[in-house]
């Protein structure tokens, strides 16, 4: 317990330099999740602190070599103590359950964030991420550019094994699975560069399956999209077949055009 309390402030200190993304979220989803963690942590301390205290105090007080309390070898039940030890954890769990029920519904990754979102289709490949911007007709590999203060609506699938799409600075991860589509809604409130990663072990290239996330102003976002769409490399069937092959540390790529409906085809098992 003591060690835990000692280590956490250090982690909080580190959060200043952006190395503790969970403690320094860049968006409302991550913030709510951190808030929930802190509240429930505090609630549980109501039980954990007295337990730890008693675990040190009782054996010392009733030590056989130097006892300081009376000895009652037959004393083995007390309705009042039993009442308290069932009731107090039950109340705390009831409180946590209420909080959890509400938070789980509010923070459901499938639930849209109000506003006009940027739509992104993310495909997990061995071992890289393909991001399709269907409204812009462009696509990237391992580079995710999003505008700040605009909700981002993800559709996710996998062209390979099960993976988990996670940007620690923004909150909430969701699995990407073959033949299926999952949803995730995120929002970045400050500009910056973050790391996104696959959080579900997926074989040989798993450790390298991370990507750069850039949250930029609306202007820069528009400029970037414009730039990509003029670059002239299209993601056609041949190129898709090439990137679908397993590869480790695949380079970041950008495509000026993408075949419409590619994501849907991948979900159906292209």
């Amino acid at each position: 317990m003591n060690r835990l309390l000692k280590t956490f402030p250090i982690a909080v200190l580190l959060s200043g330099c952006e190395s503790a993304p969970l403690l320094d979220p860049a968006g409302p989803i991550g913030k709510s999740e951190l808030h929930l963690i802190l509240i429930s942590f505090a609630l549980m301390l109501i039980v954990v602190i007295p337990v730890t205290f008693m675990a040190f105090w009782f054996p010392r007080k009733f030590s056989a070599s130097d006892p300081k309390g009376k000895y009652e070898p037959e004393w083995s039940r007390s309705s009042s103590i039993e009442f308290v030890v069932w009731l107090v954890p039950a109340i705390i769990v009831a409180a946590l359950a209420t909080i959890s029920w509400r938070a789980t519904h509010r923070l459901d990754p499938f639930r849209p964030i109000p506003g006009n979102p940027v739509r992104i289709e993310a495909v997990s490949l061995d071992w890289k991420w393909l991001f399709i911007y269907p409204d812009l007709g462009i696509a990237t590999i391992d580079r995710l550019v999003i505008p700040v203060n605009v909700p981002v609506s993800f559709r996710l699938t996998s062209a390979s094994v099960m993976t988990s799409f996670f940007i620690p600075s923004l909150g909430s991860q969701v699995y990407a699975m073959g033949g299926m589509q999952t949803r995730l809604h995120l929002l970045a409130q400050r500009e910056g560069e973050f790391t996104g990663q696959n959080q579900q072990y997926s074989g040989r290239g798993y450790a390298d399956m991370h990507f750069r996330v850039e949250a930029v102003s609306a202007d820069r976002y528009a400029k970037w999209a414009e730039q990509v769409s003029r670059s002239g490399v299209k993601l056609d069937d041949a190129r898709y077949a090439e990137i679908e092959k397993p590869g480790i540390s695949y380079p970041v790529r950008e495509f000026s055009g993408v075949e419409p409906g590619l994501f849907g085809k991948i979900v159906k098992g292209k």
């Binding site: 969970l22 009733f62 959890s100 789980t104």
Partner: protein, 648 residues
Amino acid sequence: MGKLTFSAIPIDNPIIMSAVVCAILIAIWIGHEITKRKRWSWLWNEWLTSLDHKKIGIMYVVLAIVMLVRGFFDAILMRLQQAMAEGSSHGFLPPGHFDQIFSAHGTIMILFAAMPFLVGLMNIAIPLQIGARDVAFPFLNSVSLWLTASAAMLVMVSLGVGDFSKAGWSGYAPLSELGFSPDVGVDYWTWALQIAGIGSLLSGINFLVTILRMRAPGMTLMRMPIFVWATFFTNMLMLAAFPVLTAALAMLSLDRYLGMHFFTADHGGNPMLYVNLFWIWGHPEVYIVILPAFGIFSEVVATFSSKRIFGYESLVYATGAITVLSFAVWLHHFFTMGAGADVNAAFGIATMLIAIPTGVKIFNWLFTMYRGRVRFASPMYWTLGFLTTFAIGGMTGVLLSLPPADFVLHNSLFLVAHFHNMLIPGALFGYFAGFSYWFPKATGFMLDEKWGKRAFWCWICGFYLAFMPLYVLGFLGMPRRMEHYANPAWQPWLILAAFGTLLIFFGILFQGIQIATSLGPKRRAADPDPWDGRTLEWATSSPPPSYNFAVLPEVKDRDAFLEMKRAGIHSPTRYEDIEIPKGSAKGAFIGASSFACGFGLVWHIWWLAAMAALLILLIVISRSMEEETMTILPSGEVKRIEEAGHVL
């Protein structure tokens, strides 16, 4: 020879080859020592073919310790690799090897260290605690042991012949399907789990019947020691959960061997089904390994506080509640799979509910010490280490049960820290407590306290140092199972954790020294009742005779032996003939055939698999035909053993 060729032996991998050579050298040395001392027939007759539950229990514990050491070396390799593999450094392990190591570590620690350890302790203590002469089915007990041992052997062989699975201990489909894991690794993993799973299922049946049918006269259900209750519920879990694993793995094997599509992502298969089935077994499995430890803590805390256990009924009902709830929470292993908010919240709340009975248990142990007289022997050290450490793991567990918190902490090192925080203090410390508590009973010698306490301090400090940094790393966003990483902020914490593993290494080393000193030339014989015990296992000699009790005890109280001591113990006036099971080599043969069958299936050596399966069938039939499976120990012999002070 199926797929098996000489290229299956990884000669080019120095780390694996040195491990293999070490293992072979140790085996040769042990064989040599046995030959030198002319102990082969003793080993075979007295141990390997024994149906005595105490000896089977000791063999289970030996197997568990061997596998614990193997699993721990995997842990050292992982911690060293991660401490080094920052930035452009990819550590010292060859590519893909790290993936095998973490898969083997999880599989070994749960299935081949924790399971044999707890079944071994049950074997040693349960029949004695309920005042019985053996388990209900002594031969089945031997079969369970040898199935477990042969499955463990299969995992060990995968080190030197072929590969072990690279799909994680949970073998998530479709990664574990043929398309993504074409080598034999997953098959080693599947067949080892299948064989061990059948062993566990049989143990579950055996102990359930033993507890229900073989209790001494007067021992009503509500007079059973808490460890017996814990074992009772554990075996119900084994009985209900293991068939699910067997079915899931059978379907996975059908996919891999016959090209079916249960869990593939295409052709109508569904990997989510596998994940659900795996955790429908996997979550109860957590309680299978933890509940017996809770039972041990209950015995130890009452004995070493010289006081009745506090809130006996509460403890029983709490254990029952955990048993039932453990089947209603499996989905919390994958809140991030995208089930709706209602489903996630419901399973999250069910998970939290388990914290209530678990919390009640902790309070019961604390209040057992209250107004007691606490003696600080090493079983009590492990118990107090558990009480002060487990609460942290419980707290982080409840945190993870909140789906939105899990959305950011899932599959991170925070999760790894959490479940080690449950399983090391919650299960392993419990087994260590039970090991040091029953060691004098099982072996007849006292366990050295000095080295035991040194080992404890290394373990507990090593635990904090190895796992608290992992909690922090979770908040720094580090996923689990990373072979290397690019984020320099993670490295200092991983180096700290590696030092923690080093401390634990010394803990294990000191335990080795402890066992060696306790059984070596300076060993100290144990009294029948070295701890001033309260339950029936202390009412017989250390070690107990093959029949446990010359006269079956009459139980009048929950603390049956304490009550007997108060009333005054009288030697029996007359002895009766006692029926005890004859030894049988057939259990060991079934185990060996299962190994051959598993090995044949892994490498597609069909003739070997078929012959071994046929052999198993023949052995089972021939055992069923045997009529003289018991032998009578005449009353005169019983009298002689009892008067000689029970020396075997």
